[in-house]
Symmetry: C2
Subunit: 193 residues, 2 copies
């Protein structure tokens, strides 16, 4: 594929990750898929022209649930009742692991970027302006969001770029993953002042 003809958004895949993530106590867990997250992520990705949305879960029953949801809205009754949802959910993929997502989207090429975000400050984070520039240059890129209390260390370590936390006022920083993803995609891909 000739990626040079694609926009930065179209060269980007977004991953909604349910494993490996951490719970409130910092233990690594597999979170449950929330169907509303799938809908919201699909609509935001579609709005910004993101090239692919991957729902990452190793649990087969959960994967089947998401596939049934996608089928309902893209081929079943919902596809005629609500065509905007069909448009948003078309092309959403369910995969077992982050590695499968990266393989499927062709991230194994030189210069590919894997970007993660975190609600917790840490070393070596970059600003959104820098993240935006990196996406413009990258031939392919992935942006991973952790459900529950965020991505576990093995997922964080797959990143080539770690974005700074969204600056909250005072110390409160407990955005829903749906909100954080909306804000981050707008900061990285949005247009207009």
């Amino acid at each position: 594929m000739n990626d040079k003809t694609l926009s930065a958004a179209a060269r980007l895949a977004v991953g909604l990750v349910h494993y490996p993530v951490v719970n409130r106590d910092g233990n690594t867990v597999t979170s449950s898929v929330t169907s509303l997250d799938v809908h919201d992520f699909a609509r935001v990705c579609r709005t910004y022209g993101v090239g692919g949305l991957y729902i990452v879960t190793p649990l087969e029953a959960q994967a089947r649930l998401v596939e049934r949801l996608i089928g309902h809205w893209t081929a079943g009754y919902g596809s005629t009742a609500n065509p905007e949802r069909k448009e948003a959910l078309t092309g959403v993929k369910v995969v077992d692991t982050i590695e499968d997502m990266l393989d499927n989207f062709g991230l194994g090429i030189e210069g590919a970027v894997v970007m993660v975000t975190s609600a917790r400050p840490g070393p070596d984070t970059v600003s959104y302006a820098e993240g935006r520039k990196a996406l413009e240059k990258a031939p392919r890129a992935a942006l991973l969001f952790g459900t529950a209390h965020g991505l576990a260390r093995p997922a964080m370590e797959m990143a080539t770029i770690r974005l700074a936390p969204i600056p909250g006022v005072r110390e409160y920083n407990h955005l829903p993953v749906r909100s954080a993803a909306s804000i981050i995609m707008d900061r990285l891909l949005g247009q207009g002042g």
Copy 2:
């Protein structure tokens, strides 16, 4: 109150409006309260330091539902099980009408701003950069979000400032109100690059 000591965010009230809104066919309806919207709005408002969050619904049964939800998380079992939710939901108010919201937050003063957003382009919309400046100058401000398919005309006409739609790619523009509100609050109040 001495508003000069408050930040622009603290002088701002956000309204999640369930009446008057339009449905898919453009008819004016009262939408149902989605408890998840209340949670998400509360967490985003808390993150950006917004001065007040108002859930606007004329339906008494719906108002009681929201008050029970708030009570559970701020005084009931949830307040100890999940203190971040307590913090987010403390101070969320349920009111019958937009007018009640404006009265309650002291919007009847000179120079007060009432800001609305729309998914549809229209005349006299302003950019987010301009909206940000207006909030910095205003002694008090309100920012109204319509559920369902958006605010109905009488609500739009209460506005002193109408924000431009969030620019989506191509023609698709069907963001969930949760996502739109997250992005708009970040554009108007967010910090950092």
